[in-house]
Subunit: 106 residues, 2 copies
């Protein structure tokens, strides 16, 4: 009986364009250092670091220290949980609204 975890923090973590862009860069499945991830953004390394910490706290990403750099990589679990949540609710809405449309209620 999987305790259904609250999806709000993951959604909050995904609710920022910079973080979505970071995730898309991490989507190659490899791990990347902070300076590496900072390249191409018009942002300071520290700003990117803060975003990465947000993603880390939400469980979307994991950080491992290797030598003098900390490398970040994707941890897919929490995002697929969020995906499943959205799939459930939107399926329920489709069903409910479809049923209502039949009955011509509002």
């Amino acid at each position: 009986m999987r305790r259904r975890t609250n999806p709000a923090p993951v959604f909050a973590a995904l609710g920022d364009t910079t973080r979505l862009e970071l995730l898309s860069r991490l989507g190659d499945g490899h791990s990347h250092s902070i300076t590496e991830l900072t390249e191409g953004f018009d942002l300071t390394r520290q700003a990117v670091t803060k975003h990465l910490r947000v993603l880390d706290k939400a469980g979307v990403v994991k950080c491992t220290r290797v030598g003098r750099e900390s490398r970040f990589s994707i941890r897919p679990g929490s995002v697929s949980a969020a995906r499943d949540y959205l799939a459930r609710v939107s399926a329920q809405w489709d069903e409910t609204i479809g049923r209502l449309r039949e009955v011509l209620d509002e």
Copy 2:
């Protein structure tokens, strides 16, 4: 050629437990007034109103004035867009990571 809209604002709107709860109440497919939606929350009507406005701006919900009350109901489009986005990225991650695991890269 559907212009792919930025999913971040929808995720941000979903990134709050109160708003998720509001959405779950609206999930019955009917429209509800603000005072009606406020019942059961330990919040002021105005706080709930603000949350509803956030959901409205993100396109998750629509508001129609009827008589002296404004009734809110679900607008499923943006949420299914967000759902599709998550489905795409998590499918891509699964595939990428699976391929990497075969090659034993890191």
